[in-house]
């Protein structure tokens, strides 16, 4: 019988690759009996789904208000000027 720790790892692994049939059956049996693991799997899927949607929609999750500092901008401008001159 798989432990919750095993199942938490399989739940994560199933987001990245196909589980073997043995792993799938073991996980399903455990999930039948374990409420916490069922919730954990749902947590992971919710997060994973939201991230996949954001990626497909090409969203920028940081607000427009996030800007680089004036010093940074000036530093970059100087570096670009140097390159253009050389």
């Amino acid at each position: 019988m798989l432990s919750c720790k095993d199942v938490s790892q399989l739940a994560s692994k199933s987001l990245d690759t196909r589980l073997t049939w043995r792993e799938r059956i073991g996980m399903r049996l455990h999930l039948l009996l374990c409420k916490l693991c069922r919730r954990y799997v749902r947590n992971l899927h919710l997060l994973h789904g939201m991230l996949a949607e954001a990626r497909q929609a090409d969203l920028e999750p940081l607000p427009f208000a996030v800007k680089m500092s004036d010093e940074g901008r000036q530093r970059i401008r100087r570096a670009l000027d140097d390159t253009k001159r050389s």
Binding site: S12, R39, L44, P61, L80
Partner: protein, 212 residues
């Protein structure tokens, strides 16, 4: 997913910032790239490296590299897409370098903190609550803020893992190579620990607070 006031589609920005009629010669000045796309590039980098100064550095490297290879810009992508593409490579290069320097020190932190969630028999020692999906636009915007904070609090190696796999969806063999992970089995274990940590942080700072 709904577009929120804080999540802007790059496609919309593209239309606003690069009109199709723009002659390529006029925009091949790197100083102009900085004015037009500097902040967008900065946000892209900042979200992935969690360091203001480093993000600025990566923008600089990107613009310099773009200037040096400007003849290769084919014009079939927008300038912004082209610049983001270069920036992506710079970020991956940074991860690769950083990974060589810090692998040892970070592993310890990672392994200790995920293990306290299970007892010796492998049973949960923490409660797992059901989450409800943030559905309002404002709620989603706040959710991304909390997520970004939580990623920042992860050990650096886990944060990089999150960016490469869960944020940008890189294939696992490429991630193993960039982060110098010897086997895919190790990668699965590391991803699992990272997601557990992230779940716990989100649970505490978002779902638990919002759901109750």
């Amino acid at each position: 997913m709904q577009t929120t006031p804080f999540c802007f589609s790059m496609k919309t920005m593209k239309q606003r910032e690069t009109p199709d009629t723009l002659p390529f010669a006029a925009a091949s000045d790197p100083a102009e790239w900085l004015d037009r796309y500097g902040d967008a590039l900065y946000r892209y980098a900042r979200l992935r490296v969690h360091d203001d100064y480093l993000a600025e550095d990566l923008v600089q490297e990107t613009l310099l590299a773009a200037y040096k290879t400007r003849e290769r810009f084919a014009g079939n992508a927008t300038e912004k897409t082209w610049l983001i593409g270069i920036l992506k490579h710079k970020i991956v290069d940074h991860f690769r370098r950083a990974c060589r320097e810090t692998t040892q020190e970070i592993n310890d932190g990672v392994y200790a903190s995920a293990d306290v969630c299970f007892d010796e028999q492998g049973h949960w020692t923490i409660d797992i609550a059901d989450w409800s999906r943030p559905d309002q636009a404002l709620e989603q915007a706040q959710f991304w803020d909390v997520l970004s904070d939580c990623v920042e609090r992860l050990p650096p190696r886990q944060a990089r893992l999150f960016v490469l796999r869960d944020l940008d969806g890189l294939p696992s063999d490429e991630i193993c190579q960039v982060l110098d992970i010897s086997t895919t089995n190790n990668l699965w274990v590391m991803l699992s620990r990272m997601r557990l940590q992230l779940r716990n942080c989100l649970d505490m700072n978002w779902f638990h607070k919002g759901g109750s």
